[in-house]
């Protein structure tokens, strides 16, 4: 009974995904640009120690002022 319940939920979720994708595809065929979204915000910068900002080795400050995307920890997609 429990296995049957889980299978039913999985089937419902799969159908939902298919229906959602089909609906999304319909929307895209009408207005493809509207469905495209920009990239997300950068990840949170991490903790700063008691002496971090008075020393030379403060990773969050280095990331915040970096001149390359990889050093800044910007998203990859």
């Amino acid at each position: 009974m429990r296995i049957f319940g889980r299978s039913a939920v999985a089937v419902v979720l799969a159908l939902g995904a298919c229906i959602g994708a089909a609906a999304g595809a319909d929307l895209l065929l009408d207005d493809p640009v509207a469905a495209l979204v920009g990239s997300g915000p950068a990840a949170w910068l991490g903790p700063v120690t008691e002496t971090g900002r008075t020393g030379w080795n403060c990773a969050p400050e280095h990331a915040a002022t970096a001149r390359t995307a990889s050093a800044a920890g910007l998203p990859n997609d």
């Binding site: 915000p41 970096a66 800044a72 920890g73």
Partner: protein, 287 residues
């Protein structure tokens, strides 16, 4: 009767005398050498005695400094193991202790980080504003503040925070990226285009900046410019599924259905996001 002359007296143990002299000389040498040798072996100084005071205000200040140090240690340790509630407790007490700069703004930044992870975004925003009020060039606080306002859905505040960030860190790619995505969400295409172009000038190898600039151009109706940016993005990062999907939509809009189908097929292959993969497969199959 005359006594025979006594045999010449041998000088009393001449050799013994010499030995004595040598022994004395050796003893003197050793006596002088010992302190010298001792001094050269002891090359480190004695530890400085701890300052002692019975003054109540001095003792109170020392205790406060010690508490600030300990709470920073414990709070940062808690954040590093993602124990945000424990970290918040330590940093709240630190804010009450109100250490001088830069520790005061740092304590508020760290408390804001804990509040973010506890989903208290309004509190985090207020703390980061306080940190920046105390230290207007605290770049990490400025970066997190833009992201907090975006998470709160307050585009006006996010744009103001991003403007402030770029004003004091104009070469920071994080500042340019933050202001670019904020402008794009707000529909300010000219500002978004300007920031993404500056970002590309600063780091031409960043594929996502080309993708975001392509979205700006698409929304401005400049499909050819968008396609060029998407091709740049895909040259830099061939498995960039969202850029591949966007290229498919540009090609589809331009009537190039066969090319669009190839792009959607490749997107379906590369996409990690199941929703994007499902959408790409559906569009591929409709073309």
């Amino acid at each position: 009767m005359r006594q025979p002359p006594a045999p010449p007296r041998r000088r009393a143990c001449q050799t013994t005398d010499v030995t004595h002299r040598l022994a004395i000389a050796a003893a003197c040498a050793l006596a002088f050498a010992a302190p010298i040798a001792g001094a050269s072996a002891q090359t480190y100084s004695r530890p400085t005695a701890a300052p002692r005071t019975t003054d109540a205000s001095a003792l109170s200040a020392q205790a406060r400094q010690r508490e600030i140090h300990e709470r920073f240690e414990r709070g940062v340790g808690a954040e590093e193991r993602s124990d945000w509630a424990a970290a918040a407790t330590e940093f709240r007490r630190l804010v009450v202790l109100d250490p001088p700069e830069p520790k005061g703004s740092t304590a508020r930044y760290d408390l804001a980080l804990a509040e973010i992870h506890l989903n208290h975004f309004d509190a985090a925003a207020a703390l980061l504003e306080e940190a920046l009020h105390r230290d207007p060039r605290f770049a990490a606080a400025a970066a997190n503040l833009v992201a907090v306002h975006l998470r709160r859905g307050d585009l006006t505040a996010a744009r103001a925070a991003a403007d402030r960030f770029v004003a004091f860190a104009p070469d920071s790619v994080l500042a340019l990226y933050s202001r670019g995505i904020t402008a794009l969400r707000a529909g300010d295409l000219a500002a978004a285009r300007s920031d993404f172009r500056k970002l590309i000038d600063t780091d031409p190898s960043y594929a996502v900046a080309h993708y975001d600039l392509a979205l700006v151009e698409l929304r401005a109706g400049r499909d050819d410019a968008a396609r060029v940016e998407l091709e740049h993005a895909l040259t830099l990062s061939p498995a960039y599924a969202r850029a591949r999907f966007a290229l498919g939509t540009v090609l589809m809009r331009g009537g190039r259905r066969a090319d669009a189908r190839v792009a959607f097929d490749r997107c379906a292959h590369d996409a990690v996001d199941p929703a994007l993969r499902a959408l790409a497969i559906d569009l591929r199959d409709r073309l």
